[in-house]
């Protein structure tokens, strides 16, 4: 690629060249004044640009792309409002450790600091919501910075990186010199794991009577599912996947219990609470998992494997920390476990059998139950039907709220990178745009966007993007007419004073989808559910299905805020019979 008539390239062309070298095949973005030179260069560049309808959704789409593939997602916005609109997406990616590179335009260098039109201090604003950020002052630095951005975003504990580029840097010309090496003296990535610690961990694991695997999003980020499965099978231990880790161990694996935490299953939470050894892999002891910390896994020693040293003993003291890439650590650990197996296998076999019996009892006592009714669609019923159609293989992008928890409870994922949700930040409006990113990344896959009626209305503009590209996303709106999770808390903890949670005037989806040129339908009868979902999946294009579910269903089990995870509320209060 070369600029016509000169041997130099413009900053905009250099940026595109660098993106191409990073194998970026898709940018989600929205143009504006200061990115004009960039979009002009894009006009005759093969890189694909997806025009979203709001910059926040560009970042969510880039996350969907990254979460479904493991590759770096790229989004682009103009200066000022474009950049500030990215902020929620950046924090979301930060909280869930998702590799995203955001390119923002900035006013020309000489105007920076003058309150110029559409100027915002993007570099300052995004300091705390990125893993790192750059302000490019000189076009000659651009290639180095772009490649550093991709390296930082994708290595170690992944995260978002923002590159802020003033308009004059896009326009300036320079000889493009490919970058041969990256020099970041202050950037330390610990991957290998201390051999001695790994050996000690193996001994601890074999000595435990009630071991329990607590695996999270780190397994997916590190692509360590295979190693996790191997470890679980060597030891025959029970394992849970956190909300961020669903699919890390296949849901159909016999050792998989379910999700732990605030809306986790009884068996998962009782297992955590009674274990004598927690094998914590790529997790950060989030408050939604631990409940009241003082009462969390009180009898357990903790082995904590994480690539980020700052996570070790941040929340829960690790008796045995291992800093490293969980994939490499697990493959080494598995070797040592096998080495020690002959001498250790029999030692605790009796208590371990008893442990398994106990866990199976918990599972049988309080399984996650699918409620059905003949008069109204229960949300759990909806999720089970989606699960049946997915067969553990579809990509499910969820929004935030009750439907997210029911999806996590009832839709099974047999592979990593199928379950895409905003775990840490809990950003409503995430589901639909992330499904756009996932569908672009995986055009062959069946992609569901499961939204509540609240979150869906936050991302309605993106229906245009979906229609524009004919993306065959199956949008399922679980419509209970309320901001269900907030209503649930108001019911349980605020005397059922339902303040500002009723969502009236939901649009007619048949007309709404029709206005965008694709199919939409509303159902409210359980008898229609299975057949309509079949129709939705068989439709070659997009489909917007509005499922009216019972309004007052609550998510159970539930650990109230500040409660211990073994003190779950298992269901709604039952009427007392005298």
């Amino acid at each position: 690629m070369s600029a016509t008539g000169t041997s130099t390239l413009s900053g905009a062309q250099i940026l595109l060249e660098c993106l191409a070298r990073e194998n970026v095949d898709c940018i989600f973005g929205y143009p504006g004044g200061v990115t004009l030179p960039l979009y002009d260069a894009m006009y005759d560049h093969p890189i694909r640009h997806v025009l979203v309808r709001h910059e926040q959704n560009a970042c969510f789409a880039a996350e969907g792309y990254a979460r479904s593939t493991g590759k770096v997602g790229v989004c682009c916005a103009t200066s000022g409002p474009g950049a500030t609109n990215l902020v929620t997406g950046l924090v979301d990616a930060m909280m869930d450790s998702i590799p995203v590179v955001a390119i923002t335009g900035q006013v020309s260098s000489k105007l920076i600091g003058t309150d110029a039109f559409q100027e915002a201090d993007t570099f300052g604003i995004t300091r705390s919501c990125t893993k790192h950020n750059f302000l490019v002052k000189n076009v000659a630095d651009l290639p180095q910075i772009v490649h550093e951005a991709f390296y930082i975003a994708s290595s170690g504990r992944p995260g978002p990186v923002l590159v802020d580029i003033p308009k004059d840097v896009f326009q300036a010309h320079s000889h493009y010199v490919p970058v041969s090496s990256i020099h970041l003296p202050g950037y330390k990535v610990f991957t290998e794991g201390h051999t001695g610690q790994i050996r000690r961990a193996a001994q601890m694991i074999w000595e435990a009577e009630r071991p329990f695997v607590y695996a999270g999003g780190g397994i997916i980020a590190a692509d360590a599912s295979e190693e996790l499965r191997e470890m679980v099978e060597i030891l025959d231990v029970p394992a849970v996947n956190t909300l961020m880790g669903l699919g890390a161990l296949p849901a159909n694996h016999p050792n998989f219990i379910s999700m732990p935490g605030m809306h986790g299953s009884y068996a998962a939470n009782m297992g955590m609470s009674n274990a004598d050894l927690l094998i914590a892999l790529g997790v950060r002891f989030d408050d939604r998992v631990t409940g009241r910390l003082a009462a969390f896994a009180p009898r357990a020693k903790v082995i904590h494997v994480d690539i980020d040293p700052a996570e070790i003993s941040k929340i829960r003291n690790a008796d045995l920390p291992i800093v490293g890439d969980v994939k490499r650590v697990l493959s080494k650990l598995n070797k040592v476990l096998k080495e020690l197996e002959p001498s250790s296998r029999e030692k605790n076999s009796l208590p371990r059998q008893a442990w398994w019996r106990q866990i199976r009892t918990w599972k049988d006592e309080h399984p996650l139950t699918v409620e059905t009714s003949t008069s109204e669609i229960k949300p759990q019923h909806l999720m089970r039907e989606i699960d049946r159609l997915s067969g553990g293989e579809a990509i499910v992008c969820s929004d935030v709220g009750q439907h997210q928890m029911w999806s996590a409870q009832f839709i099974r994922f047999n592979k990593p990178r199928l379950w895409i949700n905003s775990g840490g930040l809990g950003s409503m409006g995430f589901g639909l745009p992330s499904a756009i990113g996932a569908q672009f990344a995986c055009p062959e896959k069946l992609v569901f966007a499961i939204c509540g009626d609240g979150g869906f209305q936050m991302s309605i503009p993106e229906l245009a993007t979906i229609a524009n590209h004919g993306l065959p996303i199956k949008i399922i709106v679980m419509n209970n007419g309320y901001l269900g999770m907030v209503r649930q808390w108001q019911e349980l903890f605020y005397n059922n004073r339902m303040s500002q949670v009723e969502l009236n005037s939901f649009p007619d989806v048949e007309k709404l989808a029709g206005a965008y040129g694709f199919k939409g339908k509303t159902i409210d009868s359980p008898h229609q559910l299975a057949s309509t979902l079949r129709e939705v999946v068989d439709e070659p294009g997009p489909y917007l299905l509005n499922v009216k579910v019972s309004s007052y269903e609550n998510v159970y089990p539930m650990v109230p805020a500040g409660g211990a995870i073994n003190e779950m509320v298992l269901g709604p209060p039952q009427p007392v019979t005298v």
């Binding site: 950020n133 930082i152 003296p185 070790i312």
Partner: protein
Amino acid sequence: MLQIISLLVENKPGALMRVTGLLTSRGYNIESLTVARTLDPTLSRMTIVVDVDQNLRAQVIKQMNKLINVLQATDLTDVPAVCREMVLMRVRVGMSTRTAILKEAEIFGARVVESSTEGFALEATGEAEKLDEFVDIMQSYGEIEVTRSGSVAVSLEAKKLRLSAPVPKVHAAVAALETVRT
């Protein structure tokens, strides 16, 4: 409790903002912060004194180490280290107390950097507590105006700090001996 952090950072725009932002986003109050170039002009050394809960000190250091521009973060609170601060002070005094002021200054090892009929400008270095006393005493003589530098610190465990100031090991030993003596 006050924690003394020594940071080796890349001398780049935004590096200071990242460090201070990390502390403020966690609600810690910075007591003092000094920063200046090292022997290698691409790097800066910061000394930060910050009010942090005892049990969060390790976490602060880990978070600092995560910053891309930070080459090394070290907690100097409980390790052998020298910690000094400088104070520049103007004292307004009448003719009758000038001699007394100079005597006091001498006790604290302060130097006169300017002298006029109005009074003196003094310069003193030392440990923060010592300087507090100096300031208190001077205040009792009359109106003063004070500018303090905040602490600068250097580890005496030479191995711990990359590009540390040239403090040979013997010096550390001497310093240790001196603390025993006092």
